[in-house]
Amino acid sequence: MKPKTSTIAARGAVITLLVLAALVTLTPVVWLIAATTKNPDDFWSYYFFAPRLSNENFKALFAAIPFGLYVINSAFVTSSVVIIQLFFSSLAGFSLAKYDFKGRNVVTVLMLTTVMIPGQVIMAPLYEQIYRLGLMDTHAGLIIPGAVSVFGIFLFRQAMTQVPDEMIHAARIDGASEFQIYWGIVMPVVRPMVGAFCLISFMGAWNNFLWPQIILHTGSNFTLPIGLNSLVGLQQQQYGALMAGTLLSILPVVVLFLLLQKEFIAGLTSGAVKG
C-alpha cells in the first residue's frame, strides 16, 4: 500500500516538528559543551565552537575551587543515600507487601502524610533538630534525614506483591529465616526495579541543593551543587570555568542513565501507568 500524498505531507510535518523540538532541546547542551572548549577571550565572540580549542576553562575551574574534593563529597553522600534508601525502603516495602500485621494501615497513612506535606514545611524545625543532634555541617546531617524514601517503599511494595506467596511459603518450610526470604528470594525477583530506583534516588541526591545549602558551612564539606554555586559569587564571573564545572557535574548522572536507561523508563512509568 502506497501512502497518499496527504499522508506524506502529514508525516513530513511530524518529522519537522520532532526535529525542531530536538534542536531546541539539544542546543543548550551543545552550547554548554562548546563553551567549555573555548578560550576565555573567545567566549562571547563565537556562538558555539571557536576555531582554537583550549583547556583554560578546566584549568581555571580547578584553580578556583577544590573540584575533586567536591566530587568525592558528592559521590559519598549520594551513594550512601542510595544504598541506605535502597535497603530500608525495600525492607519496608517487603513488610507491607507480604505480611498481614496489625498497624499496617497506620504505616500506610504515615507514608501518605509524608507525601502530602511538602518537605519545606518541616525545614525550619528539622534544621533546629539537626542543630541539637550536633549534625550541623556534617554529611550525616544530609544522609540520615533522607535515609528512607517513601517513594521507594511504594515502588517496592508494588513490585513485591507480584511475588507468588507459594515461593515464600516453600522457603519458609525449608527453614529460611524471614530475612533470608527477603534477601535470597524476594529481592532477586524484583531486582529489575532496583535499577530504576537507584537512578531516581541517585539523581535526587546528586542534584540536591536546598538542604545542603542550609546545613553545610565549611568549604571542605561542600557537595558539587553547593561548591559549584560558590563559584558564582567568587570575584569576577568566570563563565568558562563555571560551564566546565557544570559539564563535569552532569556527567556521572548521564553515564548512570545510559547504563540503566531501559530499566529506568520502565520503572519510572510502570507505577503511573498502572495507576
Binding site: W44, F76, L86, G219, G233, Q236
Partner: protein, 472 residues
C-alpha cells in the same frame, strides 16, 4: 507487572562483572547497586583519608593557629605578604587564610554562628551584610565586642571615624573598617577626546547629563552604567545628597523629601526615551561592553578601579578618572559604595593575637602603602595616605595619580548608617526603583512625582512594619 519488559534487565549493564561474581555471589540488589556500594566505600575511604590528613596537618603545627576568611580576591592576594611578616613577628603563629565565596559571608557565616560550628577566628565581611549580624540580643552577636580595644588603640581618631558607623550596633563596635571607598567616575578617555569633551568641564550632574545626551547613541553607546534592578547606584546618589536608607537611630528615611527628589532625578536617566544610562550585567559581559565602547563612564569607587584594571586589561592607557559630578556647584564631588569590616568571632581562642593581626593588617603604614598598589583601595587609616605609593602615576589610568585623587575626596565621603534590616532596606528601595522605572517608561513625567512619592512611602512603611516585628 509486565515482566516481558524486564526479561533482560542487565543487558544494558555490561561493565566487567567478574568482581561482582567473585565478591558478592549473593548480593541481591543487582549490579547497579553493587557498583554504587563500591563507590560509597571508595569515596568514604577517600573522605576519611582527607579528614585524617587535615587533622595530621593541623596537629603537626602545634602552634597557635588563626583562621582567617575573606570574600574579596583582591584582599586575599594582597594580604599574603602581610601574613608572612606577621608570622615572623609572632613566632609559633600560623595564619590559615581562606578565600571564601560571597555567599559564605553573606548567608552561611551567620548560620554557622548560630549553630556554633567550626568558624574562622578573624573574618572580613561586606558592609551591607554587617547589619544583619546585629539582629537578636546584643550578647548573642557572633562577633566579639571590640569597643574598648578600638578606643585604647586610638583608632577612632586615626581612622576615618564615619567608617565605624556601619559596624556599630547599640553603641558597641564589632568591626574595624578596612577602607574608605570614595566614589569617582571612570571614563573612556578616547571617546571623550574623539567627541571633543573636556572632563574638567563636567562639574555638576547637569553638565554630565548635557554631555551624556551628546555622546549616547541608543543601543550602541550609553554615557554611564547605572543599575536599574538593584538599589546600589541609587543609594550612592542618596549618600551624595547626605541621605541614606536609615538615620543614625535606625529609622527608615529613604522615603523622605531627599529620597523622593533623588528618585525623581535618577529614574529618567535610565527610563526616559533619551536616556543616557543602561546596564547589561557584570563580569565578562561588562568587560566586553567597555571594550566595545558601549559604556563611556562607570561609577568607580577605589576598589572598582582595580577590578577594571584586572578585568579589562585591553583598556590600559585609555581610561581616566574624574570626581563624581556635584549635585549643585561647589558641593560634594564624591559619594561611597561598598565597604568591608574585619571582626573577631566569639569562638576565637586567641582574641589578643587576633587583635594584633587586625592591627597589623589595617594599621601598618608600610604594608598599607604596598597593598594600595595591589588593591587600589584607600585604607581607613589617614596616616597611610602619605606613603609614596599613593603618589605614583598609574599607566592604566593614563598617568593619573590614583592615590592622591581618591584621598583628596576621602574627607567628603558620607557615612553609611547600618541597621539589622539593611538587606531588607536595600531590597525595598530596589523594589521602589524598579516600579518607578516601569511607571516612567509607560507614563513619562505625567504624575510621576506623586507616584514616586507614594511608591517610596509604601516601601518605607513595609520596612517599618518589618522592623516593628523584631522583638530584640
Amino acid at each position: 507487572m509486565r515482566s516481558a519488559e524486564f526479561s533482560t534487565p542487565h543487558s544494558a549493564f555490561r561493565i566487567p562483572h567478574s568482581a561482582f561474581r567473585i565478591f558478592m555471589p549473593s548480593f541481591p540488589f543487582g549490579r547497579a547497586a553493587f557498583w554504587i556500594l563500591l563507590l560509597c566505600l571508595f569515596s568514604g575511604t577517600a573522605r576519611l583519608y582527607f579528614t585524617a590528613h587535615d587533622a595530621r596537618v593541623a596537629a603537626s603545627h602545634s602552634e597557635t593557629n588563626i583562621k582567617f576568611w575573606t570574600f574579596a580576591k583582591q584582599h586575599y592576594d594582597a594580604y599574603q605578604s602581610a601574613f608572612d611578616t606577621f608570622e615572623k613577628k609572632h613566632p609559633g603563629t600560623k595564619i590559615e587564610d581562606q578565600l571564601v565565596s560571597w555567599v559564605a559571608v553573606t548567608q552561611r557565616l551567620q548560620a554557622a554562628m548560630w549553630s556554633g560550628v567550626d568558624l574562622p577566628d578573624v573574618v572580613e565581611i561586606p558592609i551591607d551584610t554587617a547589619g544583619g549580624y546585629f539582629r537578636g540580643p546584643i550578647d548573642d552577636v557572633g562577633f566579639l565586642d571590640i569597643t574598648e580595644r578600638v578606643k585604647t588603640a586610638g583608632l577612632l581618631d586615626g581612622m576615618v571615624a564615619s567608617r565605624f558607623t556601619s559596624y556599630t550596633s547599640r553603641g558597641h563596635i564589632f568591626g574595624v573598617p578596612h577602607d574608605v571607598h570614595p566614589v569617582m567616575l571612570a571614563y573612556n578617555a578616547e571617546i571623550f577626546k574623539k567627541e571633543g569633551v573636556d572632563a574638567d568641564s563636567i562639574k555638576t550632574w547637569d553638565d554630565f547629563i548635557r554631555v551624556g545626551k551628546k555622546l549616547t547613541i541608543p543601543n550602541k553607546r550609553y554615557m554611564i552604567e547605572f543599575e536599574e534592578a538593584r538599589s546600589a547606584h541609587l543609594e550612592m546618589c542618596l549618600f551624595q545628597r547626605n541621605s541614606a536608607l536609615f538615620d543614625i537611630k535606625g529609622n527608615v528615611i529613604f522615603d523622605g523629601e531627599t529620597g523622593v527628589k533623588t528618585m525623581l532625578w535618577f529614574v529618567p536617566l535610565i527610563a526616559a526615551k533619551d536616556r543616557i544610562a543602561n546596564n547589561l550585567g557584570g563580569g565578562q559581559i561588562l568587560t566586553k561592553a567597555v571594550e566595545d565602547g558601549y559604556f563611556v563612564c562607570l561609577v568607580c569607587p577605589d576598589w572598582r578601579s582595580k577590578s577594571i584594571e584586572k578585568d579589562i586589561p585591553s583598556m590600559s592607557g585609555k581610561m581616566k578618572l574624574m570626581p563624581l559630578p556635584a549635585v549643585s556647584p561647589g558641593q560634594r564631588r564624591t559619594s561611597t559604595w561598598g565597604g568591608t569590616m574585619i571582626g573577631i568571632t566569639k569562638q576565637c581562642k586567641h582574641p589578643d593575637l587576633a587583635w594584633q593581626l587586625i592591627l597589623h593588617l589595617y594599621l601598618d603604614k608600610k604594608e598599607l602603602g604596598q597593598r594600595f598598589n595591589d588593591t587600589n583601595i584607600l585604607p581607613a587609616l589617614r596616616a597611610a595616605w602619605k606613603q609614596p605609593e599613593f603618589d605614583e602615576k598609574r599607566e592604566y589610568w593614563s598617568g593619573q595619580k590614583l592615590g592622591n585623587l581618591y584621598s583628596a575626596l576621602a574627607p567628603d565621603v558620607p557615612a553609611q548608617v547600618t541597621s539589622p534590616f539593611i538587606a531588607q532596606g536595600k531590597a525595598k528601595l530596589g523594589e521602589a526603583l524598579v516600579d518607578c522605572i516601569t511607571y516612567y517608561r509607560a507614563n513619562g513625567d505625567k504624575n510621576f512625582e506623586s507616584y514616586a512619592r507614594t511608591r517610596l512611602k509604601k516601601s518605607g512603611d513595609e520596612l517599618r512594619a518589618l522592623i516593628a516585628r523584631n522583638p530584640y
